[in-house]
Point group: C2
Chain length 264, copies 2
DNA sequence: TGACATTACTTTATGGCGTAAGGAGATGCA
DNA sequence: TGCATCTCCTTACGCCATAAAGTAATGTCA
């Protein structure tokens, strides 16, 4: 599922995101006192999505988590899309902002990428929120401003910074997505990555026996390129993904460094 | 929606993917002749997904496209997940394979990235198929072998190639995803990116008037870093995304080059 | 105090989804 | 001719988001 920013009443969604506290109701309104709140609903939504994944995030599930029906949420939130926007922006508040630039932009960007990676793995459902039309909540802006500060320290021109920040996000999100999806698949199917690969490759050996002949480089990648298996608690393929992240980050930063050198 | 590879009977899914033609039915079976075929269904699925997006891909929609009910498809295909796997592998067949390495690996990889980017934009739904447990169809392997051939030309060790290929895919998929989601949002909401940003930023000016003070670098990015608007047919933000792709690719290839130089 | 507006929340209903179950009709072989 | 086998259909179930209408609680005002 890809979730777009709420398309309904733009004014209302944005006001919700920025928690327009203005227009405080002077006199108390009639009717029963609200037992829920936007914050409580957003927290419940995050709890559900963290535990069961975005696919399991339904209005029913969130309502149930609060001892209410699905429809009760609509008193506080215009719809599911807007709820996801709010969840997204609330989650982003977790990201650190105060990176130290004294040891240089490269060290700072490395820390940023690692924190962001860890954040996505804590809240994998965030990866399903579309970046094309960003949620535009306050924390989204804070997160962007944070990484911009590190990138502007390279003294690259704004036009280059603009593109490189996109590239960094593509990379971190893509790398985290692989791990997130892998974990989700394991959780929902009860089959670990290792078991899955085992089953697949044995079937493949039957169905396509001429495989090694057609794909010699793939075989070479398997035999030469794989890290040795360890008896870690961390699943092997997850360590593999983490290594891909580290190596990819180095490549990217080397590329940025090349641009910086050219710019000097 | 994120789609995982079919988790049902592994043997059957893989046999379908590799189109196990063996065990040809010697004598014609009784019963009506099949009017559909796996191929026809896969084509219809791709047609629906290309035109309306992954979210609109339902068994009912595919059936209707063929003048059948949804349930008719289940004679040919075990379920929706397996259909998506088949669509994925069929689509991948479009990718070119014979890149010329004579002008060097960098030029070849550039062509590869551009073709892959264009492919994802032709079939944006492919980006929703999870990479964590790949579909493992024949064309998936061909596509991998293709890019491996270009990367091994760098003479980097297999372990490095293994990680860099992941990084390249993360980048290309991420960049393409932005454009794909942007187009999808425009198509489903009827609001262009430009109109959307216009509406949002005017509301934002009301709700958060102190914005420029809090996010000076974002403002700088807008004013200094943006490409001038043109009266092209291509939407402005899409050109922006394409530029991000070009710049990001350069950065990545520079990074790979740095690794190659170190390895020499 | 009683009438009434307002509010929180529930129930019910609509139209989507994937797919299980069972049935109808066509086909080929005995 | 009977029967097994096959394609394809209808129906049904339990999910989903959410529209519409109802219920009960709370406040203000006459």
């Amino acid at each position: 599922m890809v979730v777009f920013a709420g398309q309904g009443d733009a004014r209302r969604s944005i006001a919700l995101l920025w928690r327009e506290t203005g227009a405080v109701p002077a006199r108390p309104a009639p009717g029963p006192k609200p037992a829920l709140s936007v914050d409580a609903i957003v927290d419940a939504g995050i709890a559900v999505a963290d535990a069961e994944g975005m696919a399991a995030l339904s209005m029913r599930a969130v309502g149930e988590h609060l001892g209410r029906t699905a429809m009760a949420l609509y008193t506080y939130v215009p719809g599911k899309n807007e709820l996801v926007d709010l969840m997204h922006d609330r989650a982003l508040a977790e990201l650190p902002t105060g990176y130290d630039l004294a040891p240089g932009w490269r060290a700072a960007l490395t820390s940023w990428a690692e924190d962001t990676w860890a954040f996505y793995l804590r809240h994998p459902w965030v990866l399903q929120v579309s970046q094309a039309r960003p949620v535009l909540g306050p924390n989204e802006y804070v997160a962007l401003e944070t990484v911009l500060r590190l990138l502007f320290a390279t003294e690259l021109p704004a036009s280059a910074v603009r593109r490189i920040v996109g590239t960094l996000f593509h990379f971190v999100r893509g790398a985290a997505r692989t791990v997130a999806e892998s974990r989700l698949a394991a959780a929902t199917t009860g089959v670990s990555d290792e078991e899955w690969w085992q089953a697949r490759s044995s079937v493949l050996g039957e169905v396509a026996p001429e495989f090694p002949h057609h794909f010699p480089l793939l075989v070479r990648l398997e035999t030469e390129g794989a890290a040795p298996a360890t008896d870690d608690e961390v699943p092997h393929l997850e360590r593999e993904a983490r290594t891909t992240f580290d190596v990819g980050l180095t490549v990217l930063l080397d590329g940025i460094e090349a641009a910086v050198d050219r710019n000097r």
